[in-house]
């Protein structure tokens, strides 16, 4: 199938694909933002054990974790306008990107809420009691004591989620969105150099994933700097400590893989 393999096409395709990187990053960025907000809203009733809302949260999470993202995309893209038509809302002119971001935002939100819940619960309860005993309010104890520590603890999982989301956005092309994977499809059909486009595509995803991981690792180090021992011990201790946090998270965390078709 296609034209004979020619490595030079990889280099001609790279800049062309990078031209659509903006769309991919837009989807990732907006979905992340939505996901974090939704994640918090969904995690709170579970953390504070609010009766009815807690069950709603659990159903929401089961749905988004238990069904393939591709199905979710289709359900939102084709199903939502039908439902909204019943209440006289016309969505025929809504850009596809809105559906895509909505779906990815809600999908990531389900995983984010699990991440937030696990991270908040991993902060030792004694510190919260100490905060109350000091006279802080619930909100103060949460924002000043729990949140800063939970952030550091959550970062390894967050890092996985961002990378998974990045990879998942490659499915948006099925709805006709011209992000990187969509563009690669088109370039492939046009030139018949499919392998080369996919190599170029893989390279770009790889580099971005790598950059995200390194960046977030730096953030994690910074947020967990208080877990280091004195300077002499920094090296061995740091590794050890990160490991133990990562293990906690591996046990508590949602363990998001990647796109599954």
């Amino acid at each position: 199938m296609g034209a004979p393999f020619d490595i030079s096409y990889v280099f001609t395709f790279l800049p062309k694909l990078l031209g659509t990187l903006g769309t991919t990053l837009l989807i990732v960025g907006c979905s992340l933002l939505a996901g974090i907000i939704v994640g918090f809203l969904v995690a709170l009733p579970r953390l504070y054990k609010v009766p009815v809302l807690k069950t709603c949260s659990e159903i929401y999470i089961s749905f988004f974790r238990g069904t393939p993202i591709l199905i979710q995309l289709f359900l939102f893209y084709y199903g939502l306008p039908e439902i909204l038509k019943l209440i006289q809302v016309d969505m025929t002119r809504t850009p596809v990107l809105v559906f895509v971001i909505l779906t990815y935002g809600l999908h990531t939100g389900a995983y984010m809420s699990e991440m937030i819940r696990a991270a908040v619960q991993a902060v030792d309860k004694g510190q919260v009691e100490a905060a109350y005993a000091t006279g802080m309010t619930g909100v103060q104890a949460f924002t000043r004591i729990v949140l800063p520590q939970a952030l550091g603890i959550a970062i390894p999982v967050f890092s996985n989620l961002v990378i998974a989301l990045l990879k998942d956005t490659s499915l948006a092309f099925t709805l006709g969105v011209m992000e990187m994977t969509g563009k690669a499809q088109t370039l492939g059909s046009l030139t018949q150099h499919f392998i080369e486009t996919y190599i170029a595509l893989a390279l770009i995803y790889l580099v971005i994933s790598f950059a995200i991981e390194k960046l977030l690792l730096l953030a994690e180090r910074r947020l967990l700097r208080h877990e280091k021992r004195s300077t002499a011990e920094i090296r061995s201790f740091k590794i050890h400590k990160n490991w133990s946090y990562r293990r906690i998270i591996a046990e508590l965390g949602p363990g998001k893989g990647g796109a599954g078709l």
Binding site: D124, G126, Q127, E129, A130, A131, Y132, A133, T134, G135, M136, T137, Q140, R144, I145, P148, Q149, G152, R225, H226, E227, K228, R229, S230
Partner: protein, 250 residues
């Protein structure tokens, strides 16, 4: 003056505190003794509402809380009048020693930063940690962490400091330094309620010893009364078990 009136607490059907009455006068050091499970921790945690008492009244000075109908605001006020030193230190792990002490001053007392800093440094120097201001809890020994915990409690200038077995999580060689700090602040006339198993400390420092068992106060009095002339059989047995070298005669 602090008084607890008819404080009761149940966890489900298990009654842990049964109508406790206790009066603590200003500047007094009260030591609570008792076997494991007698409700000492629970009583202490009821005083600052970390545990919600099922019934009773807590009053500090002319501030009164009816435990059954306590409102959020009252609980908040109650907590501002008390401070607690925990068995497991419970320092804020993402904050340095100095920041741990400053936190309450900034957030609860709303002091300006410079003043909070000055006061906190003075307190850390007082507990012998003037050279560890910028250390995180993970860089401090248990004894040092507990001394930060004490400085954090002192900073709030509470009416009473509640100590729950402040030395029982420490390695034996670190117990002394923490007890020395508690002794020192006891001499300054700070009101404290201390749960401890350190009998020597209780004898020297306490003005008032309370012996609890099974969720009630079995006996209370001066250290001499309780340690040297205990009236109740349960107190005698407890003291015999915990300090076998002393011989309690009637």
């Amino acid at each position: 003056m602090i008084s607890l009136t008819q404080i009761s607490k149940s966890f489900g059907r298990h009654q842990v505190l049964n109508n406790i009455d206790l009066t603590v006068t200003k500047g007094e050091v009260v030591v609570i003794l008792g076997p494991s499970g007698s409700g000492k921790t629970t009583l202490l945690r009821c005083v600052n509402y970390l545990e919600k008492p099922s019934d009773g009244e807590i009053s500090i000075g002319d501030f009164k809380v009816n435990c059954k109908h306590a409102r959020k605001k009252e609980i908040h006020q109650l907590r501002q009048k008390t401070a607690m030193v925990f068995q497991q230190y419970n320092l804020f792990r993402h904050k340095t020693a100095l920041e741990n002490v400053m936190e309450g001053l900034l957030i609860v007392k709303k002091l300006p930063k410079e003043e909070a800093r000055k006061r906190s440094i003075a307190l850390l120097e007082k507990v012998g940690l003037g050279s560890k201001l910028d250390a995180y809890p993970s860089q401090l020994s248990g004894g040092q962490q507990q001394r930060v915990g004490i400085a954090r409690a002192l900073a709030l200038e509470p009416e009473v400091i509640l100590f729950d077995e402040p030395t029982s999580a420490l390695d034996p060689e670190l117990v002394g330094e923490v007890l020395a700090v508690i002794r020192k602040i006891a001499k300054e006339g700070i009101t404290m309620i201390v749960v401890t198993h350190e009998m020597g400390f209780a004898r020297d420092v306490a003005n008032h010893v309370v012996f609890m068992d099974g969720g009630v106060i079995v006996e209370e009095g001066t250290p001499t009364e309780v340690f040297n002339h205990p009236r109740e059989e349960r107190t005698k047995q407890f003291l015999k078990r915990i300090t076998p070298e002393l011989n309690y005669s009637i």
